[in-house]
């Protein structure tokens, strides 16, 4: 039943997305609402989100495939596949955000190695390659002696790519809201949190009914999710309160924008209430945490909360003018400090989510991921 629903959601979101992809390719960025002031919008936020799930998914897959934690036996390939699918979704999001997508080869052949973006592109390439190799090995030759070294390198790379996203924002001294030294440390934690939530959702909804380990797996993942959620909330409190006490105007304005400004509803309702508080209340209770549907839905709510949190890192910093009088200095399309994604942006994101959902479902069936005894080749 839930699988059918997932296929339906995947199909519908992709269908809506097809219009968005058409619009994006036919008219470029014209119908986007991000502009020259709020320069990164929904797609960059979704890129951060998907890339976070990808890195986090890999991290949790090491429980089974690198560290051999018994209770998680058989979950490694699911986490790896979820990670790969999310990596593809992340690259679609950020690819379509670029003005000249087809020049991406220049990053490889004519790049600037000192740019964080350059390092990230290479990092993702390496990460993608490692994930594919690991998945193939784990599926076909689970006893291959190379599997663990590959997973170990992958674990380091997954920390690197999630830390690099934090650094990309953290090094930007022009935006005090992002210029947080701890960002490169926080982002791997965010990634791990979203990876755990992804695995919790996948196992709860699609895990094998007859797997005796499943209740325990769900319980451990739920508690881990709760702990990571609390750590994340603590980081957020630290960032926001420091900004407010520090009283640097650009920083304070950005925080106010999140708490009381144009994104208040996203913060209080989506991120805090739906994405944090509700899952927290249910997942600390064993009966809900081990109940397939409850755990699955709570996993989804947490993922929604994490996606919103990414948006709330990106947009508010950009809605604060670098110079106050810029707001009215020159008018024209895409020159505004307000941002809400356009229909085309939502459609593209919907299509990307559709691709991720359908990719995950097809792949898990084809690769027989939800059996914990991979065939020996």
């Amino acid at each position: 039943m839930i699988k059918k629903l997932a296929y339906l959601v995947g199909g519908l979101t992709l269908l809506f997305g097809l219009w968005g992809f058409y619009d994006r390719f036919a008219y470029g960025h014209q119908n986007a609402n991000y502009g020259s002031y709020v320069v990164w919008g929904l797609w960059v936020a979704m890129y951060l989100f998907f890339a976070g799930v990808a890195a986090g998914g890999f991290m949790v897959s090491t429980l089974d495939l690198l560290f051999g934690v018994k209770i998680f036996k058989g979950t490694g390939r699911i986490a790896l596949w979820g990670s790969l699918v999310c990596l593809v979704a992340a690259l679609i999001s950020i690819g379509l955000d670029n003005g000249h997508l087809f020049r991406i080869w220049k990053v490889y052949l004519q790049g600037n190695p000192f740019s964080l973006l350059f390092q990230m592109v290479w990092g993702y390439t390496l990460f993608g390659a490692i994930s594919v190799v690991a998945l193939v090995l784990a599926s076909r030759q689970p006893n291959n002696p190379w599997l663990k070294p590959v997973m170990a390198v992958g674990l380091v790379v997954s920390f690197f790519i999630s830390g690099a996203v934090g650094a990309l924002l953290g090094v930007n001294a022009s935006r005090p809201f992002w210029h947080v030294g701890l960002f490169p440390v926080q982002f791997p934690v965010f990634s791990l949190a979203s990876g755990v939530a992804m695995l919790l959702t996948a196992l709860a909804f699609f895990g094998r009914e007859d797997d005796e380990n499943r209740p325990q797996q769900l319980w451990i993942l739920s508690l881990t999710s709760v702990i990571l959620l609390i750590v994340k909330l603590y980081f957020m409190w630290a960032d926001y309160s420091q900004s407010m006490y520090g009283n640097v105007p650009m920083n304070v304005q950005a925080v106010r924008q999140v708490l009381f400004g144009e994104y208040w509803w996203a913060f209080w309702i989506l991120q805090l209430l739906i994405g944090s508080l509700i899952p927290l209340v249910f997942l600390i209770q064993r009966k809900f945490a081990t109940h397939n549907h409850w755990a699955g839905w709570m996993g989804i709510l947490m993922l929604v909360g994490y996606a919103v949190a990414r948006g709330l890192i990106i947009f508010p910093a950009l809605t604060v003018p670098e110079l106050e009088a810029l707001v009215h200095a020159f008018s024209g399309p895409h020159l505004t400090f307000h941002y809400f994604p356009s229909l085309m942006e939502w459609a593209v994101t919907s299509g990307t989510i559709g691709i991720a959902i359908l990719g995950f479902l097809f792949g898990s069936e084809k690769l027989n991921l939800f059996s914990n005894t991979p065939k020996e080749a």
């Binding site: 020259s36 973006l117 022009s174 670098e322 110079l323 009088a325 399309p333």
Partner: protein, 285 residues
């Protein structure tokens, strides 16, 4: 009307028109003093700067240090420089290289406008260049920050890194988009639009047709001190269009240049000095 009389009349009219806007700043200043002098006998600063420009061009590019000086007391907020730049570089809607930031300050009855024309500040220590993953934006040998449109992938990391909002993204919008189209008439989006898309701008000395999916659409764009004009000995468009003669341009490595004189004044400042970007655009307060 004889020439000096005409000049006196013009000067007086100009004073009356603009006095209301800048009066507080110029209180007690000899606004119509100029009319009494033979203003036309004086050399226009543009002439001096053109001469200095030619002198600078005789040097090798690396020996020049182009700077711009903007005298905020002389700026009357007419936006001519903005529009001059738009026309020179044929900028589409939403792309701007030199907006004039306008602020109302004070409380009635002591109210005034403050104008701050803001091109790219051509930072010596530019935060926008090292973030570029493909070296598409860089400091050229004359110290001007440029964008190689054919190299830029449009990631916009440089926009987010610029603390002065000096870069805009070309979204591919045209002024004639969605205007009425009549095949039988000359006017209309398809006919009038031809002017917009024709390759008649010479940014970076290149002539580019404006076509969807082709650069500079999908690229980041910014002020480049009108390098294509400088190269042939003409001052940047904003400098020549400034009716208040508030914008000065030249080679700060030339000790006799007007800009060298101006940036040695105690009332000089640069935007957000604390960031250490070392802008090459100076303001006189």
């Amino acid at each position: 009307m004889s020439e000096p009389k005409e000049a006196a009349l013009l000067s007086k009219m100009a004073s009356e028109v603009f006095a209301g806007m800048i009066a507080p700043a110029l209180e007690n200043a000899p606004l119509i003093q100029a009319a009494e002098d033979d203003v036309l006998a004086k050399e226009d600063v543009l002439v001096r700067m053109e001469r200095e420009l030619k002198r600078a061009l005789e040097k090798s590019p690396a020996e020049r240090r182009w700077v711009m000086v903007i005298d905020l007391r002389r700026c009357i907020g007419c936006h001519a420089c903005t529009i001059g730049c738009v026309a020179e570089n044929k900028l589409p809607p939403g792309v701007v290289y030199r907006p004039v930031l306008t602020e109302e300050i004070g409380k009635y009855p002591h109210v005034a406008y403050r104008f701050l024309p803001k091109p790219c500040l051509q930072c010596e220590n530019a935060p926008c260049t090292p973030v570029c993953p493909v070296n598409a934006t860089y400091t050229n040998e004359e110290g001007v920050i440029v964008v190689d449109y054919d190299q830029c992938i449009g990631c916009r990391a440089c926009i987010s890194a610029c603390p002065y909002a000096s870069r805009t993204f070309d979204f591919g919008v045209n002024y004639t988009d969605k205007t009425v189209d009549r095949l039988t008439m000359v006017l209309g989006s398809s006919e009038a639009g031809k002017y917009e898309t024709a390759g008649t701008a010479f940014e970076y000395g290149e002539r580019r047709e404006r076509q969807q999916h082709h650069s500079p659409i999908g690229n980041v764009r910014k002020c480049h001190f009108c390098l294509h004009r400088i190269k042939v000995g003409i001052l940047p468009a904003c400098t020549t269009t400034c009716i208040g003669r508030a914008t000065y341009f030249g080679d700060a490595n030339d000790p006799d240049a007007l800009v060298s004189e101006l940036i040695a004044k105690p009332n000089v400042m640069r935007l957000k000095e604390e960031l250490g970007t070392e802008p090459r655009v100076y303001y006189l307060l």
